[in-house]
Amino acid sequence: MGLKSKDLLGMKQLTPEEIMEILDTAKTMKLVISSANKKTSHLQGKSVVTLFYENSTRTRLSFELASKYMGSASANISATGSSVAKGESLLDTARTIDSMGTDIIIMRHPQSGAPHSIADKLKASIVNAGDGMNEHPTQALLDMLTMYERFDKFEGKNIAICGDIYHSRVVRSNAIGLAKLGAKVSVYGPRTMMPIGIEKMGVRVASSVEDCVKDADAVMGLRVQLERMKSSLFPSVAEYAKFYAITPEALKLAKPDAFLMHPGPCNHGVELPTAVYDCEQSVINEQVTNGVAVRMAVLYLLMARRNNL
């Protein structure tokens, strides 16, 4: 039991068996979250530090609660208010945290590959909580848990993802993870936000929102990163909402029991009309709960590996 690698850097590094083990463990952990006494001893005597170079609400809080529910000592560092603001290098900061006896460092960083560049140099396990445009593995795992609770198996299932594909680490991790389990991923978004060669990752590039969503078992909207507006990847919010949003009409083209996901935060009225966000098929709030469960599972399995060594 446990993960093969010291670190969780991305879905690229996980085997299908490891993914299933995380999802099955997360189902158990979810029982803890819904129980009256949210306390286990899985991480008792362990220390977990979150090191965030980018803003976050869900990811950071869910990692923090996950580690606390399991009894670890946990602490948080952000880029502002630490020596990072004094110009300390990533490696020096990470080594400093490592030297304090930290077992797991959960890291978010705006540069792709940042956790990869330090993982081999540290004793602590590194969990990638999002690196640039590369991966966000625990987001994909919580998305997959949300699907797993509704599917008997991933094989042959159609997953539609619409939005800013180019900048999205959520898409990359989902595409890699879902492909490993045999699901079929379709993506759609403005051509200016579609990276060259994405089909080589095993996804289908759709020709419209409707084409993407048609016959889908699960539909995922992505946040329009409005900060990208100044680079003119699309002309206006109004135009985006008209041509690229997942409308109620488009959603009807999905399978009858399909459900709607969004990693959050959502720009209401841009990528999703509020009516869609709140619709019956929406499982967005359940994704948040699953985020805590999946992160509990990941932290636990990383430590279980260590105990096995």
Partner: protein
């Protein structure tokens, strides 16, 4: 000072002994007259290599490399002549900096250093640098290397004004409005989430420079070509008589962008490592004569500039000490090109494009030479390099073509300790 090198093979000759008198190749004399007799043990004497594209970092970035350490690395690589790019601090855009570089190079005394001046003041594409005065001080070309000449209008001015002084123009080809990534744009960059730099960025500017060269009938030299499309345009332009020449680097025919998958910054440079299709096109262009020169783009960096996030890491790798062995192992040994062609690429062509007058091995010519062991495999090790940089992607590679000895004007500049 009289020196004999015996038991050698001599490039393009059936001789097995070389005689050097007072720094020049000489007629036969007896071993008794010689001050030193070197036993080459069957190694091959080649003309001293010429690298028309290196970065020696001095003045300004001596923590990365100095003219002295860069010169030592060049000598170890078999080079007797190098051309240094002007992106120093201060920029080599005036005669005073040119003179300073030449003075340091003379003090080091290990390689002939030919400075390249900036085309625009401060490497900007705004005002012409003092190209005439820099030529008097000793530059052999102008370039804004690292910062491409951004506009067609300024490129035209640089070509025209440099032509007045018979100074070649070398351009780094990359349209900044479509570039800006940290590696080649393609399936690998998409997979690992790194912003890409498309081949189109290089191709667009190569097209522009060919058009300007043809229109003005002024030569242009294209730096470190890495793309299939760029090479195709250069091939076509040469065929219709455009005065375009170009260079490539060993990493473009030995590596591809798939090496970047683990975010190892020793595989990060500009232009970036391209696809397998481009790599094969580079080999084809070396073979068919489209490529005129192989250069290193030797770009030493301190570990502090490289042991950082991939997108933050500075561009460039060192190359002087691995270049010949990579070319020999991957081009000559498998029979893709002959040793004669390799010497065109690594000596005669760069010397001719920049009018350096190097490469002669006849009586009376300066005894610039290198002695290469072509028979025995060796392991290229980064910790044995003489450059200050450790940023090589070739650490641990098994290669043929180890330098045994290098001489500049008959003086030993490198000798392998046996």
């Amino acid at each position: 000072m009289k020196t004999i090198i015996k038991n050698c093979r001599v490039f393009n000759s059936d001789k097995s002994v070389i005689y050097i008198d007072d720094g020049r190749f000489a007629d036969e004399f007896s071993e008794n007259e010689a001050d030193e007799v070197i036993d080459a043990k069957g190694a091959t004497v080649l003309p001293g290599l010429v690298d028309m594209h290196v970065h020696f970092r001095e003045p300004g970035y001596e923590y990365k490399e100095t003219i002295a350490t860069g010169s030592a690395a060049a000598a170890k690589g078999g080079f007797t002549s190098v051309c240094t790019m002007p992106n120093t601090f201060p920029v080599c855009d005036n005669a005073a900096v040119v003179s300073g570089i030449l003075k340091k190079a003379e003090q080091a005394g290990l390689v002939r250093v030919y400075p390249i001046g900036a085309a625009g003041k401060g490497l900007e594409s705004e005002e012409l640098a003092e190209i005439g005065l820099m030529k008097e001080a000793g530059i052999v070309a102008v370039s804004n290397d690292g910062k491409p000449i951004a506009t067609s209008g300024f490129m035209r001015k640089v070509l025209e004004y440099s032509a007045d002084f018979d100074i070649p123009v070398l351009n780094h080809e990359e349209d900044p409005t479509i570039s800006g990534g940290a590696m080649n744009e393609g399936e690998v960059s998409t997979s690992i989430g790194i912003r890409g730099c498309p081949t189109a960025a290089e191709d667009i500017m190569i097209a522009r420079d060919i058009i300007l060269s043809e229109y003005l009938n002024i030569p242009v030299h294209i730096c470190h070509v890495s793309t299939k499309g760029g090479l195709r345009m250069i091939r076509e332009a040469k065929a219709r008589g455009v005065k375009v020449t170009c260079e490539t680097c060993p990493h473009y025919f030995t590596l591809t962008d798939s090496s970047c998958e683990n975010y190892d910054t020793n595989f990060k440079m500009h232009p970036p490592l391209r696809s397998e299709e481009d790599r094969l096109a580079v080999i084809e262009a070396i073979k068919d004569g489209t490529v005129d020169c192989i250069v290193t783009d030797h770009a030493p960096h301190h570990q502090d500039d490289k042991e950082v996030e991939f997108s933050h890491a500075l561009n460039g790798i060192v190359g002087l000490e691995s270049s010949f062995a990579l070319c020999y192992t991957y081009l000559v040994k498998p029979g893709i090109i002959t040793m004669e062609r390799l010497m065109d690429l690594m000596c005669y062509n760069p010397s001719s494009i920049l009018k350096l007058g190097r490469g002669g091995m006849d009586k009376g010519d300066d005894a610039d030479l290198t002695l290469m062991d072509l028979e025995n495999e060796f392991v290229f090790e980064k910790d044995k390099m003489l450059t200050k940089g450790r940023n090589t992607p070739f650490d641990g590679w098994k290669l043929y073509g180890e330098t045994m000895l290098t001489m500049m004007k008959g003086k030993k500049t490198y000798e392998k300790l046996c």
